[in-house]
Symmetry: C2
Subunit: 309 residues, 2 copies
């Protein structure tokens, strides 16, 4: 019974109007795993270089994350991303990308990882995503994230991969771009018509919307007075979402209530992630804080009860 994530493990250099960091642990698999670890046992699959050391492993181990399938490439360097955000924190500007060991990454999954019952294919090349998906043929629940780069350069491969998963996480602009359909409702339907049973359209500061065949649910982002670094928000969202879904024993049959609570846990984890730089906030997060913010979001969106605050 494990939740496996395949994706990037990185060092990030980030500058926002509220501060900067020259080198911090990041990457989609890291943000996902930390968020999911509050709900489920998580295994991380991805490559790192010789510069990835005990302090980085410790961040993952402190949250009980299994790192047996992190492949350390001798003499290699870990994937590096440098980016900045202006006052519009919805848009990341990439200043530098060094693929390093990630450029030659061929996923090698142990028997334990191949036995995953829930699998998250973080935003990597769609051929690789599909390869991993085929290795994990027992998984009852498979989800993926992607981005505009793959829509532009590997669209057919991405469409084939999407057809083989259960849940698609993408930014709403990317959902439109992939389908060529300007209306988000119709765009989500077009994706579901190819296979997936749900589409989660991430909407940055506006929150996220969940489309399934016969329902729609949307949730605003938790209102924060200070957003310091949005890097990893989408992966933290997916981590909270799938971590919770996995904990509920989902094998492709979660009811609407479970999916909606998963959306809310996703939103909660994303909100903590963006409060500070990189993994700083989530590393010292506690389950009580998560449940507190879940209750707040429930109040803030309720037409029934009036919050007693």
């Amino acid at each position: 019974m494990s939740l496996v994530v395949v994706g990037s493990i990185a060092f990030d250099a980030v500058k926002t109007p509220f501060g900067e960091r020259e080198r911090m642990l990041g990457g989609s698999a890291v943000h996902f795993a930390l968020a999911a670890s509050f709900f489920s046992e998580v295994r991380v699959v991805g490559p790192v270089g010789a510069d990835f050391g005990d302090p980085e492993y410790a961040v993952l181990h402190e949250r009980g994350i299994n790192t047996d399938d992190i492949e350390q490439v001798p003499g290699g360097k870990t994937f590096f991303w440098r980016g900045h955000y202006d006052y519009d924190l919805n848009t990341a500007h990439t200043d530098e990308t060094q693929l390093n060991v990630f450029g030659e990454f061929q996923p090698k999954l142990s028997a334990e990882s191949r036995a995953a019952d829930t699998l998250f294919l973080a935003n990597i090349q769609p051929d690789l995503q599909r390869e991993v998906r085929e290795l994990c043929d027992e998984a009852g629940l498979v989800a993926l994230d992607s981005m505009n780069l793959w829509i532009e350069t590997a669209r057919d491969s991405l469409l084939r991969t999407i057809a083989a998963v259960d849940i698609v996480f993408m930014n709403d602009a990317e959902v439109r771009m992939l389908t060529g359909e300007g209306n988000l409702v119709r765009a989500a339907r077009a994706i579901m018509a190819t296979g997936p049973r749900a589409v989660v359209a991430k909407q940055g500061e506006y929150g996220a919307a969940l489309f399934t065949e016969d329902s729609f649910f949307a949730l605003p982002a938790y209102p924060l007075e200070a957003v310091n670094d949005p890097t990893g928000a989408g992966d933290s969202f997916a981590g909270g979402f799938l971590g919770y879904l996995h904990s509920q024993g989902d094998s492709g049959d979660a009811d609407e209530g479970v999916l909606r609570r998963a959306m809310t846990y996703g939103s909660v984890l994303a909100s903590f992630n963006v409060e500070e730089f990189g993994t700083e906030r989530v590393r010292r997060l506690g389950r009580g804080e998560i449940d507190g913010r879940f209750a707040e979001l429930k109040d803030m969106t309720s037409l029934e009860a009036v919050p007693a605050r």
Copy 2:
């Protein structure tokens, strides 16, 4: 006991990717009044020209709207706006504006309108808004809308007017622009610190957020497969919101539950407005349809009940 709106009455020419109309009834006061008329008795204050005739009055009278304070300027021409939308329906592009009789507009309010207990100052020059607000000194609930033009050209006047109202409706980008505060939570607080007890940040296709001193509420837009013409969505939102609030006897003391239901009725009326061009859809709308969509939105945002659909 009446709800009064002061604003533009217009002929609009609109082109969107889904069709076009050369001349149709529009204007902020018209869209507001039609939406509010499902909940409350509404009086419209605004100028029209000699070209405004029985067919236009009939649209308002069919919804029971009082037009006694519509000032028909002999020999004048009604305000005219021509605009278009590209596939991003969130952004209106203005191609032509003929102020006509609106350029010389000096609000003249009858005794009945001056006795308004709820007043909506639609998006007009802020000096005029303040003048009307002072004439209606018995109103227990006063709200306004504004736009980037007035923030750029009449900021001090707008700030003085805002300080004299209870609820501010603005696009979220304008809330930020007005306050110079990139964080929406802090921007809304900055506006409330000058007087208003609530800020409604309109977020286009993403919905709307309500800020009060001690609470936050947000609601997604109703998911539509076809949006044909977004013109008037914001005024329809304000009309549904204030029409409902007025019907509940609000005099500045509405509880949180009433405000949240007002947000939902606002969202419902806006959603019908954008389904077709101009006033086409709202003119043949029925209260049953409104309540049906209200119930759907409640289901779509609920973390409690699972919709049985």
